[in-house]
């Protein structure tokens, strides 16, 4: 018992009394904790006892406390590695395809096109997504089954809803942070990079993936062979 106390000494600290419950809840909810004003206390507490907490989550919950980035872009989250994936399978949640698509879109707009410097006004983002020639047709096709010009009010609301819901989910994950005084204003957090790591293999091999898809399309005329239990619809 004495050993255990030493191993997880952070639990005995005064900081733990004030912060650990919130931190633990956030991490176990899938949230990413980073060095930003709204999470700075949790972040500092976590960073201070990083190794002890890593052991704590590893030994008691069989999950890895991952830390990525440096300085102001550093963030923490609980992750399942190969060892723990089987053990805690029931505690895994999938990032829905809808949210995945918006996440990648957000990264492209923010990181590559650099459309927004800091705060992003949600109606501006919606407007940008709906008017960008590069991808608007794909989006209207996915969420309205129509072209932009033929879109009805319901179609437009569906796209708005998709974007707003995804942003809410990202807020829950700690990938975005909404201004408490203005619910239409948000900031992208460094931890949204997690989406890059999630799809790093696919991103790095995208050229091969496209080639393979094109080959299949040429061979089958666009029809895939449906394997057992593989049908999506």
């Amino acid at each position: 018992m004495e050993d255990a106390n030493k191993k997880y000494g952070f639990l005995e600290t005064e900081e733990a009394e004030n912060l650990f419950a919130d931190l633990d809840f956030a991490l176990k909810s899938g949230q990413h904790v980073q060095n930003y004003p709204h999470q700075v206390e949790l972040f500092n507490f976590l960073e201070k006892y990083e190794e002890e907490m890593r052991l704590y989550y590893r030994n008691l919950f069989k999950v890895n406390l991952a830390g990525k980035g440096t300085d102001y872009t550093r963030y923490f989250y609980l992750d399942m590695d190969d060892e723990s994936r089987g053990i805690v399978k029931s505690r895994a949640k999938k990032l829905s395809p809808e949210y995945t698509l918006l996440g990648i879109l957000l990264l492209k707009i923010h990181r590559i096109d650099k459309y927004f410097i800091n705060d992003i006004y949600v109606p501006d983002l919606i407007q940008l997504i709906k008017s960008n020639d590069e991808y608007k047709n794909f989006i209207y096709n996915l969420f309205a089954k129509r072209r932009e010009k033929e879109a009805t009010e319901i179609d437009e609301s569906t796209i708005d809803e998709w974007i707003r819901n995804a942003l809410k989910e990202f807020e829950r994950l700690g990938w975005t942070h909404f201004d408490p005084r203005n619910k239409d204003l948000f900031e992208i957090m460094p931890s949204i990079d997690r989406l890059f790591s999630m799809y790093s293999y696919e991103i790095h091999n995208i050229d091969r993936l496209i080639d393979e898809t094109n080959t299949i399309t040429e061979k089958t005329g666009g029809l895939y062979a449906v394997e057992e239990g593989d049908a999506q619809d």
Partner: protein, 467 residues
Amino acid sequence: MLMEQLSLIPPALRTGRQLHFPKILRDRYDLLVPRQEEGLIILAIFQKVRAGTIERTFPERVIVETIKQVFLELGMASARGEETQKYDETLHRLLRHFLDKNLEEKTYQLSSYAENFCDMLEREVHTAINPSQIQKTFNDLVLLLGLKLETMDDFRHWYHTQFFKHKSDIGSQLRGLQAQIEDTIDQLNDLVKNEQDNFREMLIGCEALLDRIKEQADKLSSAFSSKDDIKQLLDDATLAEEFEFREMKREVRIYFKDIEQRLINVSVTIDRIKPKINKLYNDFEKRDFDRKIESFLLYMLKNSTSKFGRAKKLIGRTVHEVEVFLPKGMQPKEYYSDRSRLTGMDYMQLLEPPPIVVQQQNWDEEDLHRQAELRRSQIARDKLVAHWCDLIADDAQHKKKINFGEYYFKILQKENDYEAAVKVATETLREFAKKDGFEVTVSEDMQLDSKHPYTGIWKMQIRNTVS
């Protein structure tokens, strides 16, 4: 003597007096230093001899062919009829210092001056960096200097032959390194400007080249360490009283210092370029990564599919219920979320009674009296209706037949309340229509009353079928 004059810095340079070059040098300068086309002709012949494509001695035809080639390459072709004269003039100029003619055999060969000139050109452009050779050169210099410090004549000989010869070798090695760095910088600039397809490979090539140059510079520095032995020998020499010795010693020291500085510069330049190469790498990697993200996004948007459900009504808007599927083979990614367990805690709170919330009631005090009166009149009417309903029911129980119209007009007369009368009628008829032992009949005969001339009611009778 000429060698000595050329080798030493003329005293006039130090004193600022007017320069006096030997007359012969001034007169022959244009012939000693070839024009571009002449230099290239000599160099082409030199390379042909060395490659064995022509003999060491060659006929005039070979020179004329080479002149033609070089002129063509430089775009100096002459008008028809003037070529022979031009070739002839060039040949004659070259014969002054660069070509020797064998009058008996009518053949030509390159002069020693021409061979030295070509050798010097090649060494200047393509110096094979050879630190171990420099090491040997320095060893020789030290060894010979040790033997040449007895008399001023000996030292002078060492200075003008050994030191000057090797000084040139060392200098060309350093120029070779600097030229390699400049080539690498040009390649890098070209790479940045032109965005070549094999950018990454080229960058790796440049980086490897710089590493090699740095390595060679380090080796040269190491080979150069014998300079300290030379300095020491010069310091210990007994010739220090000689002004000429001191001057020469000063030249040697300045030269070593210069070489040392140039080697440092090579390293500094490379250290300065390295971060730029790293930045180019990063930029390239970032550009490549950005491009891949763009491709990935378009791939995902293009190949994802969706299925539509019913329209969903939300507050203030209606939306499609849409389920999206990622492209075939692309799985949604998992993240750790143990929320189900955590939200279970919410049930614990239900075991404790929620705190009592004190609600603040706002009363419209001015309207209270009106509301109270309204409520009182409603209660009074309800009582009135109940009283008449009870009365009629009682009568219906005890009499064989009652005529509801009579009660209706009595209510009107006594209570003067139409609403109450109608309500009694409704309640009574509803009750007796369903009640066993009673029969309700409504005839289309209008029943009137003289006290209420504007009111009429269908004749309605309740008959007690039991009694």
